[in-house]
Each structure stands twice: as C-alpha cells, then as structure tokens.
C-alpha cells in the first residue's frame, strides 16, 4: 500500500483500522511499515477507513510482494486458480465435488488467523512437517502453487519473509490417520511464531448423524458449538 505523506493531515483516523498494525505516526504524519504491511487494501478501500484526504492508494506490486496481496486482500483473485479468497471451495461444495469422502477428514490450518498474520517461514515449517508424513496438499489451494517442491512441502525460498493476513494449509487424509496428524500439528504449533485456526471437515453418516471422532479427545480438542453445514442442495450430487 502507498501513503501520500505530503497529503496526510496527521488526523490519525487510519491507525486503528489496519488489521496488521502496519500504520503508525512518523513525526506528525502517518506512515506505512512496508515490512508489516500485508497489502490487504483495507486502508484504501472505499467506504472503510474514510481518510479525509484520500491519501492511501494501491501499489503496483511485483513478485514476491504480490503474494501478500493474494493472501490478504479478499477482493483479489489468485491468478493461478481463478478462485477468489485464500482457500478453495472445500466443504462448501463437497456435496458436488465429493472431495472429502466417508472414511476421510479434511483438515485446514489457517496460518496467521486471527489477528497475528503469518510469515512464509512459519507456513513452511508446518507444510514441511506435514509433507514428511506423506500429506498431499489440496491441488487447487493457492498456497500449494507457492511450493517449489510439493512432495517436501517446501515453499519458494523467496517467500520466507513475506507476511500475509492468512494462508490456508489444506488437505484430506483417511480418518484412521487423524490422531497421528493432529499430534504432529500440535507439536509443530510450538515452533512457529504465529497462530493458526484449525478446522476439520467430515461427511455426515448415512443416518444423518455426525461421525464420532474419538481421536479429538486425546488432544483435548472440543469442536466449537457452531459450525459450517453443507446442506446437500448442490447438483449433481457427488458419487460415493
């Protein structure tokens, strides 16, 4: 993001709005810390911050800085996948795609969310660890496109310092491997300098009930009382 500091009147209106605390006062005018900025576009978006002198604008970015925008600005669409947002359709269209079948679970780690943001190096720690256990990352997830070696889960080395609001590590595994993979994820959680929101997608049983996931208890993982429910209205329905 760019700020026209000459136009800034130092009103400080913008400071609180930045989701990654990248805007600060330098002297009597606001400035953007480019290392902290994730290029999310919030400060320049019409009707949001409402800078009285419109001094924020969107920069023309070059690789690897473009990655910040694709993983931070919800109004940006990934060039490779054509899909807006940071993840995929995942469970939202599972009734049609059948991506997650019975006997499987989908797992996703939204690195950096909430509030903290994530650097490439933290994401790389987790993807390499998961890859070492044979996890295959979701093909259409934009993060997968940033790996120079998908089998090893290695991100492009140029991305280690890149900071994004969040990036989603997404994959499907057989349900019988859930405990092993969760154990690894929670071990690696101690090695990273950010947070992640963890979620699990699962098919309903034929009787309409949710499967019992006893493995979660081993890790004191209690699902929130709220969840996303795909209501099965998509057509054609995915074949079993």
């Amino acid at each position: 993001m760019h700020i026209n500091r000459e136009a800034c009147i130092g009103c400080e209106t913008c400071l609180a709005w930045c989701p990654v605390q990248a805007i600060h006062m330098r002297g009597d005018r606001a400035d953007i810390d480019r290392d902290l900025c994730t290029e999310c576009g919030n400060c320049a978006r019409e009707g949001v911050v409402q800078c009285p002198v419109d001094c924020f604008s969107v920069d023309k970015l070059q690789w690897p800085r473009t990655v910040r925008r694709f993983f931070s600005d919800p109004m940006a669409t990934h060039e490779e996948t054509g899909i807006p947002g940071r993840g995929t359709e995942e469970s939202k269209t599972n009734d049609v795609t059948g991506r997650i079948g019975r006997g499987e679970v989908g797992l996703a780690l939204e690195m950096g969310r909430p509030h903290v943001a994530a650097r490439g190096r933290d994401i790389d720690i987790m993807t390499r660890a998961l890859a070492s256990r044979g996890v295959r990352f979701e093909q259409d997830n934009p993060l997968t496109y940033l790996m120079v070696d998908r089998k090893r889960g290695a991100l492009d080395p140029q991305l280690m310092d890149v900071r994004v609001i969040s990036a989603i590590i997404e994959f499907v595994i057989p349900r019988k491997r859930l405990a092993e993979v969760l154990r690894l994820i929670l071990q690696k959680a101690d090695e990273i300098d950010t947070v992640f929101s963890l979620d699990l997608a699962v098919r309903f049983n034929e009787d309409g009930c949710l499967p019992r996931l006893a493995q979660l208890q081993e890790f004191d993982l209690q699902p929130y009382p709220n969840a996303k429910i795909n209501l099965g209205l998509g057509r054609p329905l995915a074949k079993e």
Binding site: S91, K92, A108, P114, V195, A201, Y224, N230
Partner: protein
C-alpha cells in the same frame, strides 16, 4: 475451510448469527450458473439479511446496493450474507429446496439449531466443517472480548484496534452501539459481519 467458521462467543451470543454461503463448484456446475446465482441472491435478499456483500463490490454498509451485487455476479460468483433470524433462514431454505437450483448451500451457525432447521425443512446435510480452535503463539492474541468481534469477519479485516476504539467510544457514550457496530462491519467486504450481534455485544460490554 474457514471464512465463517471460527466465530467465537458464548452459545447465547452465537444464537441469532447465521451465515449463508452459496457457491458454485468450479469445473462441475459453474458453467452457465449466473441466472441461478442471481435467483438465489434474489431469494436471499427478499428474506431480509442483516448484512450482505461480495468479493467484487464490498458490502451494503459501505454504500453498495443489491443491484450492484447482482450485476457483478458471474458463473464463479459467490453469495455471502448473514441473518440474525433463523425463521428467515428457514424461509430461504424452503424456497431453495422447492426451486431445485442445484447450487451448494452452507449455513454456518450453532450446530444443533442448523441441523434442526434442516430436518424441519426436509434437508439432508452432507458435510460439516468444525472449528477446533486457535493454536500456536496464542499469547499474541488480543483478549477474548475483542476476538468475538474480530472473528465475525472471516478474512481478518476487522482490526483489534478499531474494535477496541469503538468499544471505548460506546462505553464513553460518544457513539451508540448500533452506529459503532455498523462502522466496525465496514471492512468485511463479504458482508458476513453481523452488525446486530456486534451492537448487542457492545451494549452488553458498556452495560447499556
């Protein structure tokens, strides 16, 4: 697998907060689906969502209109909004079931409430996406009170700073809860931030 999933708060405060998502499956049923998406948008809008927006336009709370959102919908467009009233959600589901538009529909909310509503409307839920919490360097997180507001924007665009500032302004009587909540909701371009729930939380925090 996230977006509307990780909303935090007590069971009581999560009542009256139902995110609606409609998404074509790219490569399966997206081609030529624009009229269906427009029809779904029409059904949803007529039911009276609390907030609505889109990746392409931004939200009604920043001056975008229903017509703007409709005009920008294409074959890979998505419909996102939030309701505060489960009866409205049920009315939408009833209509969608009867019209058989064939586009995937997700409701995010309290599991027991959503499943009961689905059962009463004769729907067979297909997949559940469950939140298993926040992990890692959790010492970097703001307090739980602030997270309740922030997590209503699935893209993380609502900052801790603006939540804190608006909470203070409400406590000091400088701003009404409703006005503060509508301001807070602006960065959430998809329109799934529930400003009515936020106003209730602000009132509770300010002891109003």
């Amino acid at each position: 697998m996230t977006h509307s999933l990780h909303r935090r708060g007590s069971r009581e405060s999560l009542k009256g907060d139902y995110v609606f998502l409609s998404t074509p499956a790219v490569g399966v049923n997206h081609e030529g689906c624009r009229p269906k998406m427009q029809r779904i948008l029409e059904i949803v809008y007529q039911a009276g969502p609390t907030n609505i927006g889109s990746y392409d336009t931004g939200t009604v709370l920043t001056g975008v209109t229903y017509e703007d959102i409709r005009a920008e919908l294409d074959d890979t467009g998505r419909i996102r909004c939030v309701f505060s009233d489960l009866k409205k959600v049920r009315a939408v589901l009833r209509r969608l079931k009867s019209e058989e538009l064939g586009i995937s529909i997700v409701i995010s909310g309290l599991v027991d409430e959503v499943l009961q509503a689905a059962a009463e409307e004769g729907l067979c839920p297909h997949t559940a996406n469950l939140s298993l919490g926040i992990h890692g360097a959790t010492e970097k997180l703001p307090g739980e009170t602030i997270l309740r507001f922030m997590t209503m924007c699935g893209h993380g665009m609502v900052s801790a700073g603006i939540v804190e500032q608006l909470m203070d302004e409400v406590k000091e009587g400088k701003r009404k809860p409703k006005a503060a909540a509508e301001l807070m909701a602006r960065p959430c371009v998809c329109g799934i931030f529930n400003q009515e729930r936020a106003a209730d939380l602000l009132s509770e925090i300010a002891g109003l």
